[in-house]
Each structure stands twice: as structure tokens, then as C-alpha cells.
Symmetry: C2
Subunit: 394 residues, 2 copies
Amino acid sequence: MDTTEILKQLAIIVLAAKFFGLVARKIKAPMVVGEIIAGLIIGPSLLGIVQSSDFLQGMAEIGVIMLMFSAGLNTDIKQLKETGIKSTVIACAGVFVPLIFGTVLYMCFYGFCAPGSEHFLKALFIGTILTATSVSITVQTLKEMGKLSDAIGTTIMSAAIIDDVIGIVVLTVVIGFRDPDAKIWDVVFRTALFFVFSLGVGIVVYHIFKRIDKRYPHTRRIPIMGMALAFILSYLASEYFHVADITGAYIAGVILSSLDDSDYISRKMDVNSYMLFGPVFFCSIGLQTNIRSVNSGILLFSVAFVAVGLISKVIGCSGVSLCMGYRMNDSLKIGLGMMTRGEVALIVAQRGLAAGLLEHTYFTSVILLIIASSIITPVLLKLVYSKDKALPEG
Amino acid sequence: MDTTEILKQLAIIVLAAKFFGLVARKIKAPMVVGEIIAGLIIGPSLLGIVQSSDFLQGMAEIGVIMLMFSAGLNTDIKQLKETGIKSTVIACAGVFVPLIFGTVLYMCFYGFCAPGSEHFLKALFIGTILTATSVSITVQTLKEMGKLSDAIGTTIMSAAIIDDVIGIVVLTVVIGFRDPDAKIWDVVFRTALFFVFSLGVGIVVYHIFKRIDKRYPHTRRIPIMGMALAFILSYLASEYFHVADITGAYIAGVILSSLDDSDYISRKMDVNSYMLFGPVFFCSIGLQTNIRSVNSGILLFSVAFVAVGLISKVIGCSGVSLCMGYRMNDSLKIGLGMMTRGEVALIVAQRGLAAGLLEHTYFTSVILLIIASSIITPVLLKLVYSKDKALPEG
């Protein structure tokens, strides 16, 4: 792509995102919703003045890495320890309930059959797509409300990270059924290894940063090196451990979250995020879809897919939260927070396509699920949090 | 390119740039020199672990736009008015002295001939490449020293802008000799039109920004809209007026330079610049060359080309400055500041290649000129400025 064309597209994206973001805020919806809708409006669905490109995809990737790194930086490790077991239980429910619901949904539409058949595997894959939570929208929404680092925010964040890990294991297992060469335990081992590796790297890196931070507090090198760490861990996660790259970025943030200057790093990352990378990331979700190309057949399935995708996460996560003693309102927050789908669902779908377990038609459904969850989640989250204020604490 | 690959490359670039930037500062050289050398070291010339790509080129483009926008924001319009005529004279000398020297250089190497012949045009084109000043390195160096907005800094900036305009007119004239269809006066007209257009847009935009600034001071929308303005003017300059895009970015900065919040915009742009886009831009200069592929024949010409390129600018600009009554030291600053070549020289070379006026071999010479000027200029500038301190003022 021509470099001057890039400038035009970025200017349109940034201005549209800012404008619709402000409109969204005026009507009490979170700004991200406005930014995604901005992408739909300027993209092929409506005006068609901006097309998704490799360059914009790359910028969006950097955007999501920065967002997850920033989320990690804001993690309260003490609270993560406290919510660890509960988060794991929530994550398990958040993976297996949508997996089952999705599988049944496909069979309701296209016929039931016995496990092990080609048809069953395809049904199972629809369920697999539904497992992957992408909390970036939730993160942004909670951040706007200043609720990212409280107990519920941390629970959602940790559950989403664990959900991601379990989801990748499930994906590997399902694709493993197709290809007898794939070693399932090998992948489980690699995933575990990544966390052990991160722990080791984390201890060393944390002490290096602490020393630099003490000697040169508030210098540019600290956020720059922090960002580089996020990039490196994301790369290593994806390239060598086959874990989602955003998990690496989040862990990089967690490693640095106890530094004195973690707030300073976070502020510098935020400037980068809100000026350019954030708007590009959220707009690109809208840009990647073309509402016009949807026909009635796929539309019907998509509507059911979206509904089942959203509801099953809430049933799974909120249900199990309630069972563990969370208040009704807090359980709802957790379920809604875990409901968002994003780029991970698309990556899962792409792997399914490559393995012959998914037809290209279903991509529209996945994109609609991402958009719907991205729009609905922040609105409902804000609603539930606003009820919180009305109620007395405790 | 794979998105995870992007993360790896960015991490390497950012860390290498920061490391060599700090090393450069330790030995009292400007950080940009370190960043360019970092590009040479990690690029194909030495380690070969990072290759230039479309994505990195796009990021570098955004980097240079941000840098020029920031330079424009720091312009003191009062001083620009005062230095206007002097700057124009300096720019003219800075264009025509290198043009003549470059033409003669080519003929010294490959034989003299009468004007109008094919051979003469090729010689003239070597001179044309030498006309284009790219002040981004100078801007960064002066910024590091806090000298960007003083009288000399402003003179250099305005002379470089005018130099750019004259340089583009010269390029069009030279290429116009080759192609009888190109209308030279049409281009002169378009360039003039761009400045008239910018003036009109500038007045309107300035008042809009002033109103927003008054109503919502220090809000994110101001730097975001400012950046978008820089992108738009750069795009319009390049696409519709055939003026270098960086001229548009600089003018966008000048338009907003009188706002109360111009410092606020500048600070936010700087965070974006130093975290990611700046290192990518300066490293990419080093990445784009492969020192290994240079043979002795082209090396000899290149050395002469680099020497003539650097000396002719200094002779032209410093000479004419001295004649206009600048002190010796200040004249040297102006000559050295105007000496840097950058992406504009490469763009000119590419147009020559397309018009059949330049062979691909000479690209190495152009890249070497860019690198040499990028490394030598900041070192010499610092030296000249340090002498300034030793001398009493006036």
C-alpha cells in the first residue's frame, strides 16, 4: 500500500473513532462501542472509504498487545492470588458450557450424529470457537469506569487468561482428533512450560527493572523497555509455545505491575494507545466485516450462534460464580465481562478453516459475534455497574 | 508479513535503538546517530536479524510525519516572519550550489558534454538528488539540545521548507526536459496553490481548534485532532499538490503552533515519537542499506558524491549566510543544519529511476549520503554549538 494512502486512512480512522466515541459517551455508552461502529460506518459495510489492509492489521495487533500489556500492568497481584482458584473454576465453566451449547446448536441446525464422525467434529468446532474469551473490550470498558483493578475486575482478568489457556488446549484437542499426528499432551506441556518460563523470566526481568527504576526513576527507558518486554513475550508465546500472543503481553504487564514506576509505564502506554493504536484496533473490528454480504440462510444461523455464544458464557460464568457465593450483581458482571469475543475467536476459526473443520461461510457468524459482543457487553456492563451504585455496598 | 514477526522486529528495533542511543549519548554524540547505527547493526549490513518491510516503512513514514508535525508545533511564527527573506536566500543557495556541483561531479567521472544531451541530463539529475534537504535529523538534534525554536533553528527550519519547494520545482524541470508532456508551470502553480490552500485551511482550522481548546482544555481530542490534521495535510500535499508530504505535516504544526495547548499537543506527540515511531524511523535508515554489496567502482564515486553533497550545501548555505551578515559560527550552524539528506533524496532518486535518468547502482550512493549526513551532521552541529557556549554572546 502507498504510504500516503496510509496517512489518509489513519486520519479517517482516528477522526471517525474519536467522533463516534464521543457520541457514544454522550448517550452513556462506552467509547469503544462508538469506535467499533465508526469502523462499520467507514468500512465496506457502509461508506467503504477505508479498507482493512496488512498495515492496519499490523497496527491493530500492536494495539491489542499494548492494551493487554496495560491491563497486566494494572493487575493487583495480591488480588490475583486471592481470586486464583475461583478464577480457574469460572474459566472452566466459561469454556465448557459454550463448547457444549455450540456443538448442540450446530446439530440442531444440521442434524444430530454420533461422536467421532466428520459431522460431529464440525459441530464440536463451532463449540470450540465459542470458548475463546477476548477481554480487550471488557478491559477498555472497565478502565473507562475505573473498575479494572478491583476484586471483580481482577477476577475477570485472571479468569480470561486461564480461559485462554484452557481454550487453546481444547482447540488443540479438537484439531488433534482430525490429525492423528498432533500430540495433544505435547501442547499441554508447552503451555505449562510457557508459564514456568514466564515465571523464570519474570523474576529476573523484575529485578533488572527494579534496579534501573531505582537508579533512573521516571526515565524514558523504563516504558520503552517495558513495551519491548511485552512485544518479546507475546512473540515467544505465539512462536515457541503456541499460546495466544496477548497472553504474553498480559504476563509482561503482570511482571512489571509491582514496580514503583508501573503507573508511569502505564500512562505512557496509554498515550500511545488512545492516540493511534487503540482507535485502529477497535475500528478494524468494524472494518473486517461487510454486513451487505450476509444472506438469509447464514443470517439465521448467525443470529442463533451469536445468541448462544453470549448466553452460554453468561450461564457458565455467572452460574458458577453464584454457586461460589458471589452476589447476584457481581456474578452478572463476571458473566458479562467474560462474554466478549475478539481476535482469538477469529484465530481459532482460521485454524479450523486450515484443518478443514470449518467452511468460510461461518466467518461472518464469528465476526458478527465479535461485533455483537463488543457492542452489547460494554452497554450491559455499564448498566450492571450503575445498579451497583444504587445499592449499598456489601 | 506475519503479525508476530512484526512484534519481534519492533522489540529488536526499540531495544537496539535505545541501547545505541544511550551509548551515543555517553560519548556526547546525539542519540539519533546511535539509532541509525543500531539500524545498520541489526540490518543486512551486519547481523541481518531485521529486514526492512512494507510495514516498517509505513511506521517510519508515520514517524517522520510526527517528527515534522512536532517541529512545526515548535515553530515561532514571529521569528519565521523575521527570517522569511533570509531563509529564502539561504534555500536558493542550498539548492543551486549542490545542483551545479553534483552535475560537474558526474561529468568529472564520466566525461563532459554539451547541455541538452542524454548524458548531460543524467549528470544534471545527480545534481538534482543533492538539492533535497531533509531536516528531520537536524530537528531531532536541535530538539535534544533545546535549540529548535531559537533564531537559527527557525531559520534552518524555514530554509529547509523553502528548499523543499524549490527542490521539487527543480526536479520537475529536470524530468520535464526528458518528457515534453510535463508542464513545469503547472507544478509551480500547484505548489503555490498548496501554500494558499494551507493558509485558507489554516485560518479556519486554527479558529476551530482555538474554540475547542478554550472549551475543553487539555483533553485528548486536541492532540488526536492535531495529529489527524497533520496526516490529512501530508496526504493532500503529496496526493493533490505533488509537494513532499512532510511539508504538509510541518505546516499543520505551524497552524497549531500559536494555540495555548500547542505544548500539550507537542508533548503527546513526543511520547508517541520516542516510544515507537522515532526509533523505527531512524533505524529504518540504517536497515535500508547493505554496506556489503558496495564494490570499489561505485564506492569511489559514492565517496566523492557524499563529500560533494555535504560540502556543497555548507558552501552554499553558510556562504550566503555569511554574506547576509550572520556570524561565522551561526553561518556554520545553518550550513550544517541544511546538510542532512533523507527520504526526500531517495524519493527524488526513485523518480529519476522511473524516468530513465538514473541507474539503480547510484542508489547505494544516495543511501550512503543519507547515512553519512545523518551521522556527521549531528556530531558537527553539537561541536559548533558547544563552541558557542565558550564564546561570549553577541
